[in-house]
Amino acid sequence: MEVIETDIAIVGAGGAGLRAAIAVAEADPSLTLALISKVYPMRSHTVAAEGGAAGVIKDNDSLDNHFHDTVSGGDWLCDQDAVELFVNTAPSELLQLEHWGCPWSREANGKVAVRPFGGMKVERTWYAADKTGFHILHTLFQTSLRYPSIKRFDEYYSTDLIVEDGRCAGVIAIEMRSGRMVAFRAKAVVIATGGAGRIFPFTTNGAIKTGDGMAMAYRAGVPLKDMEFMQYHPTGLPGTGILITEGTRGEGGILVNKDGYRYLQDYNLGPPDPWPRKKAMELGPRDRLSQAFWHEQKKGRTIKTAQGDVVHLDIRQLGEKIINERLPMVRELALAYVGVDPVHAMIPVRPVVHYTMGGIHTDIDTATSLPGLFAAGECACVSINGANRLGSNSLAEIVVFGARAGRSAAAFAKANPALGAAGKAGEAAQERLRELFGREGGSDTVSGLRKAMNDTMESGAGIYRSEDTLRQTCGILADLRARYRTMPLQDRSNVFNTDLIQALELGCMLDVASALAQSALERKESRGSHQRLEYPTRDDANYLKHSLASYRGAEPPSISYRDVVITRSQPGERVYGGATT
């Protein structure tokens, strides 16, 4: 197997990965760096993020406000030291993006503009029309081209971490175009591979969001934290799950049920007027809005369509000029995919899986429990998002912690010697692949097992969960994981074999899904986006803790707990609506 020696390897070239790479290149251009991604960087799912990135810059705002909004938005499961660091650093990171050319939308005086966003007391969401993720990703990718020390390996699918002497010593990857395996031996590895929304059937996430990096770290002994917390974004298009940004509501859009009634007022988010008002009604936090939909559906007040039940998002009152200027992509998407012009008609929407709050457990410097391994972005859990993420915190998170991970990895690589000659890690990975290619017989397919996984996740681990549904899902997942171990490939070629890649992704998804389901089963309370029908309230006495799922091979993971770092915000009631003014 070819061995590539490098000081640092970064897996994932989305917002966090690219930012980490630039941070390494700036910290020390003499450090060799391999930026490994299973897709070309501009395809990374950061590109689909729309609404904006939060950072305090306006005079009417304060870091304190951002801190409190985030901690309460996360239902007090956020580590407050991490949130403090995050809100302090976000403004300068977003400014750095501007200095690198990011086309932020502006006020008339030329300064960066901000818009209101869900769960935030004061508007602080920087935006680039309604394609903020697209502009951030392209700015980072294009900026990365000026650093010669960043060596990219595009379309290399990473399969395993190399662990030697209790240290992370690199990563094994498949060069997708040829099918051959390569070992990257590195002194420090950063995982920035994004979330795992594709374990669910209806999601805003693209095909590539399969939790590969999470699974790699998990299998190498690093626990996955808070996996039970999966965010449903309240407004996705029915059928495709395409994201309709929270920015529509930030600009004044409203949600109505089949009677044209703004139903959110029935769920402690009202009163409906005066509108718009921060942290109230349609600008409430995402978990509460998605939960409200579930209740409306149970009451029969949602609208039935060929692609399932929906509610209506009404932005007609914004007028054509504002829509074209600040929400042009929303208009394009609605016209193309549901045949609706939001200037004249209401957009059908429903909650869809969007963001993985949980992930690879890291400390505030992005270091994991495995020395030499770091993680940043959606794949990691620091945790700044706790039990529910506020919109526009994620795009800020990837640059804050991406930069931090790059610097931490660079410091580690300089302080630690290279490990000895290439060991046997590559052989084990190669053997696993050979075994996969050699399997014969059986009727299981990638798409069959994937569909079964999707179905059980939606029915058992969706917006509302119960002991029965979760147990059932855990059981089905255990069965699927067993069947996965004998599932044959249908394509045994070497060149760009996407059946192979999808099979490997499925393995990662099954592992991540079982961590999610087991964590959810053992958290007997409702908090943020994890809602248990039998335990409808928050239980701080027993569960003001992070869950940690540890890999146990074919067995379900063992779940342990870890205290949340509380500094200056004691758990209180999450209050939205009129009471917040």
Binding site: R177, S178, G179, V495
Partner: protein, 128 residues
């Protein structure tokens, strides 16, 4: 290595594969006729300098059925050439006035107006 990327050759008939390329090739062809006409006008200038006989011979050739047919063809091609050229001008020269973009149709329209004015001046000068 198992890789064997397949390179598709571009055929000489590439421009027949899609109507937009056929239209493009016709547009490019018109410049041939515009160029030819300019060359013939240059010949005309030379004949003019060579005296009456040469000039009359030139005019006679131009007035022959073949000459007239050629000139009609050139006129058609030159009009097509100009029309397609005008249509593309807003792309090459986006104008802004008072911070707002000038609509394409205004830029194109201005070209037609200029063309009309020049044509009228030339025709008057030619004694029509």
């Amino acid at each position: 290595m198992s890789r064997r990327p397949y390179v598709r050759k571009v055929e000489r008939s590439w421009w027949l594969q899609h109507p937009r390329y056929v239209a493009y090739m016709i547009r490019e062809l018109t410049s041939l006729f515009v160029g030819l006409y300019c060359a013939l006008l240059a010949v005309g200038l030379v004949r003019l300098s060579q005296g009456h006989a040469a000039w009359d011979g030139f005019v006679a050739a131009f007035s022959s059925p073949l000459g007239v047919a050629f000139q009609m063809a050139c006129l058609v091609f030159a009009i097509y050439h100009s029309v397609t050229w005008f249509a593309l001008t807003p792309k090459a020269m986006p104008l802004r006035m008072k911070g707002e973009p000038v609509p394409g149709i205004v830029i194109v329209g201005a070209h037609y107006v200029a063309w009309a004015v020049v044509s009228i001046v030339v025709l008057i000068g030619a004694g029509m």
